[in-house]
Assembly symmetry: C2
Homo-oligomer: 626 residues x 2
């Protein structure tokens, strides 16, 4: 596949002004960020650093990876600060950062668990103890805070720790083989390299990636190889021989995101071909319609092809975030819209469902069906998800546009303004529209001077036909490449592009191998997957069947769930059918038609917890009783 080597437009340069994300960013700033730090204090994450600073040897609370939750929250706050200067928040972060710095050991090591609980056990349990994982999140937070504020305070902590880690792991004589049980540091080291220019970080990341699969964890824990199954740790095969997405979902996607980075930055075609194979397996056989991954709670991960249960779907919020991170890297490397399709699916559905509209309640697990009673929590004993979804939303501006030195790509049609620096000059791009509720878009181009460059407009994967006009004139046969409309011309101040991506209500069906969804449909409109929540129905949800040719009307309900487009249509309510003492009977014909309403999946469970279904059974009753 041809590489395009696109890059993100810096967060600072993107202003979001729509009625979908802007209010969420507002809630993030005003509710979520304060909530995160309140809970991090309450749960002990912050106090663990005080204990480490004070050389305390007891009092540590929480699992191994407590540090990472604080780092992710700081990263989220950093993305907020990049757009919304806030002296109080910045002061709070600086205080936390100096606390973190004060907990760092003279040699640069930094992990409150090992400093407080097992000082002599550093690096002895890479498989489970998450030291490198926590380090990764430190690096990501440091880079974000540096880019947002220009301050090196956290970056210097990160560099010291990174240098320490680099002094311990690697191929060189005297260094140790090893890699993280939970990948994350790989992609973080690449960020750190790009920010500092220190190539050792890239090499270290490459080392962690390429060594994986050498069954280090078996050796680390003296597990006989014939009794070792590294699958859940992606340690089952040499990295470049991986064919399927396996094991723990978040680890798998973080690992592949890191591998994509290394493949791109070291031009490792063999590695990238592995990533492509695994991506295809993930997205063509192991992904929920909501873009999330992870079929089983047993391993928080993957099982077998097409095993995509609804009621017991795990689809951890972190895993949907991880799909966004991975898809973004592929989208930028190849400049191919197919990756943005998955990114968009995971972002608007699987990931966004992970946080309440109020901003302070969360899902860790995101089922596609609920029997009622399943509800959002303010925090978790393992609290990886809340700060993860927070940092994703806070950085949403990174996903709207992409650029090269020569051209501009529009990936997500979020009403916004972006300043984009091309080699030939500066371009201000303004997107106007009500996406994801509506597919009519206006794009105004304001180049610093008349400039020729290609404007690449993504044709969303869900879109079957589109129309594009330049300054009112319909483009009869626009050039389409890699899923983008390529408008290459000399752009002048005020040029206007009109793009229409019609959004019919689509009745989606799943591959017949997905046994759970046989005889069912799911509604999708634009990028949004819909669900049926009990309180919107006129009959018990469990008795409702849809018609394959049923007509659904999309209408914006400004007072419902923060303002959403609902899909109103007709279904039927079975009054059940008895098979008692019956082997054959006429297909029940008493069909009671009822009004049904679907809401976006992301918005479910923001009222009283009730029954919910994404995949709805279809009338005919041939399927009843299944």
């Amino acid at each position: 596949m041809e590489k395009r080597y696109l890059r993100e437009v810096p967060l600072k340069n993107v202003d979001i002004k729509d009625r979908f994300w802007a209010p969420r960013l507002d809630t993030l700033r005003k509710v979520t960020i304060p909530h995160l730090f309140k809970m991090l204090e309450k749960a002990g994450n912050i106090n663990n650093f005080r204990l480490a600073r004070d050389k305390a040897k007891e009092g540590y609370s929480g699992p191994y990876w407590m540090d990472s939750d604080l780092y992710k929250a700081i990263e989220a706050a950093a993305y907020v600060l990049a757009k919304y200067p806030d002296p109080d928040l910045e002061k709070q972060m600086d205080e936390l950062i100096s606390l973190i710095a004060s907990a760092q050991m003279p040699d640069g090591y930094l992990n409150t668990y090992f400093e407080v609980v097992e000082p002599d056990k550093r690096w002895t349990n890479l498989m489970a103890a998450h030291e490198l994982y926590c380090a990764g999140h430190l690096f990501e937070a440091a880079v974000a805070y540096y880019q947002a504020t220009g301050k090196r305070n956290l970056l210097d902590v990160a560099i010291r720790f990174a240098d320490h880690i680099d002094s311990i792991f690697g191929e060189a004589p005297g260094k140790r083989l090893g890699y993280p049980g939970h990948p994350e540091i790989e992609l973080a080291l690449v960020k750190l390299w790009k920010t500092t220019g220190e190539k050792r970080y890239l090499d270290l990341a490459r080392f962690f990636i390429l060594k994986r699969g050498s069954k280090f964890f078996a050796q680390e824990h003296n597990i006989p190889l014939d009794q070792y199954d590294g699958t859940n740790l992606q340690d089952n095969l040499p990295m470049k021989e991986q064919k399927e997405i396996v094991g723990h979902a978040v680890r798998a996607a973080y690992l592949m995101a890191g591998a994509t980075d290394i493949g791109r930055e070291t031009n490792d075609e063999e590695l990238l071909q592995m990533v492509q194979r695994v991506w295809q397996n993930a997205t063509e056989k192991r992904m929920f319609i909501t873009g999330g991954i992870g079929s089983s709670s047993a391993n928080e991960g993957f099982t077998t092809d097409y095993d995509l249960p609804n009621l017991t779907a795990y689809q951890e919020t972190c895993a949907s975030c991880a799909m966004v991170f991975w898809a973004q890297r592929l989208a930028l490397l190849y400049g191919d819209a197919q990756y943005v399709d998955v990114l968009e699916r995971a972002l608007y559905n699987g990931a966004l469902a992970g946080i309440s509209l109020s901003g302070d309640r969360f899902f860790y697990v995101n089922p596609l069906e609920s029997k009622g009673g399943y509800k959002r929590e303010e925090w978790f004993g393992c609290a990886c998800c809340p700060p993860n979804i927070a940092r994703l939303i806070a950085s949403i501006g990174n996903y709207i546009y992409a650029q090269s030195d020569e051209g501009i790509w529009v990936n997500l049609y979020v009403q916004s303004k972006a300043n984009i620096e091309l080699k030939s000059g500066n371009v201000q791009l303004e997107v106007i529209g009500d996406y994801p509720w509506d597919g009519h878009l206006l794009i105004f181009i304001h180049p610093s001077q008349p400039m020729e460059f290609p404007l690449n407009l993504r044709i969303s994967g869900w879109c079957k036909e589109f129309e594009v006009r330049i300054n009112g004139k319909l483009e009869e046969k626009p050039l389409v490449e890699n899923g983008y409309i390529v408008l290459k011309r000399t752009w002048r101040e005020g040029d206007k592009v009109e793009l229409n991506l019609p959004m019919p209500v689509e009745k989606m069906v799943a591959h017949p191998n997905v046994k759970e969804d046989i005889g069912k449909i799911a509604l999708q409109r634009g990028p949004l997957v819909y669900c049926f929540e009990a309180q919107d129905q006129t009959a018990p949800l469990g008795l409702i069947y849809l018609f394959i040719d049923g007509d659904f009307k999309a209408r914006f309900e400004s007072n419902l769930l923060g303002g959403i487009v609902v899909l109103d249509g007709e279904g039927m309510a079975s009054d059940g059918v008895s098979w008692e003492k019956t082997l054959y009977q006429p297909a029940p014909s008493r069909v009671k038609k009822v009004n049904v309403r679907a809401i976006p999946y992301y918005a479910w469970c923001n009222r009283e917890p009730r029954e919910m279904k994404v995949w709805m059974p279809l009338y005919p009753p041939a399927l009843w009783g299944m």
Copy 2:
């Protein structure tokens, strides 16, 4: 359950005049009967008797049970003679009977296989050698021929053999335990008892029934009990402890028919409760929609509940006949229409499919789906089916009416006349109608003098609503008992009853546990189950899907397959849907509508052998690819 102790109306007293059965009886007389005896000569069944007569010790042809095929053919001929005196046919039968008599041993033993091949092995292999089974068919033929002609020639042969068997088997000192590997003699001995009044025959039948399950066959063949599974021979449990219909289908149903007789005649409530349990299991969990039984060719019999495959359905023609025999006995004992529903289903569908419209081609196995190429044969190495379906059709007159001393029951609405002798006098009943093509019926009552008696009219199980008029006057709320409309009044010459049983086209669904039929429907109209044969379709059968709400028009096609009601409607032809590299997609909307036609299942494969399906998949495409 309350017993009514009904009995059949003698065959002689019933004249069939309709356009469904009358032509078949005609074909039976003119084609099938001559064909049977021609083939019995060709295959050696008849010659085996010559060999036995001549004390030959070699030359026997065919399997153990060759004799029974001839006996069944003679039984069929006897039923024909009962209604249609035919000197030539009767002469042919008398000659065959004297041949049979000449083959009987002085002690009454009669079995050409053992006489010719293993003279010293009599009664040594009850499990497999079918001696008692052949004897049973001899008895049934003898009783039929005696009732048809008044001649004792075959009856005396039967009595001598029965006495011989009775001298060998039984509880009495010096007698042997044992029972037939293939049941049949039990119900035959009951007939012989009723005809001769010799109670020993009833006792012997009772002995065979009640002893079953004592694992005699293990002992007979020195099989260690821990290695013996008598299931296929219904020898797995003591008779009265049977709970499910198991093993070889024909054996099981013959056994249960015999058990029903014994339960009735010896008033054995415990035995009848077992029969009821097994009947429920058979009809509620192990019967094809065509009324046939036997899911697997491996044992010509039953497997597990709800295992009812279509393509590999065994549904031996003999097994559908056996269901008719068993259901008739329950219908008469209890006077309950539910048993006639099953009888009618098996008769008009599973059984009738076993013989070609031409009368000289047969199915042994009756699948509910064919990929094409499966065809009818003129005969079989194991030729049990052709004479069995022949004797059933020849005796169809026995199933139309039932009677007690006080009342009359109409079970099958075949246009016919019947003379029925009640205690209070003689009644001639005349049924006019075009059943099974139409549900409008006229019944004229001609009593010898004004007589009060209940006329019980069966409400077919497939019928949801009915109307009945007496002499033009609508009965507002007629008494309904056991599925019969009970019209009790003083009947006078020429009284006219109008019965309307509407026959909409029903889209039948199977219990969801029948995995083979999930998402499929089968068409049924009146008692007839329909099927789709490739030559009647406008698209390849394999690509056709039906609509649950599709409308089917019933129309009589006088020139098609001897005159049938076809069901013409609309379906859709899939042009397939690709799942290549796709996990989710909008439900395909390109629906190519096509005309489809269904014909009665019994009439399939009377043209060039092509693909056929009873159960048709339903659109929506959610099921495509399954």
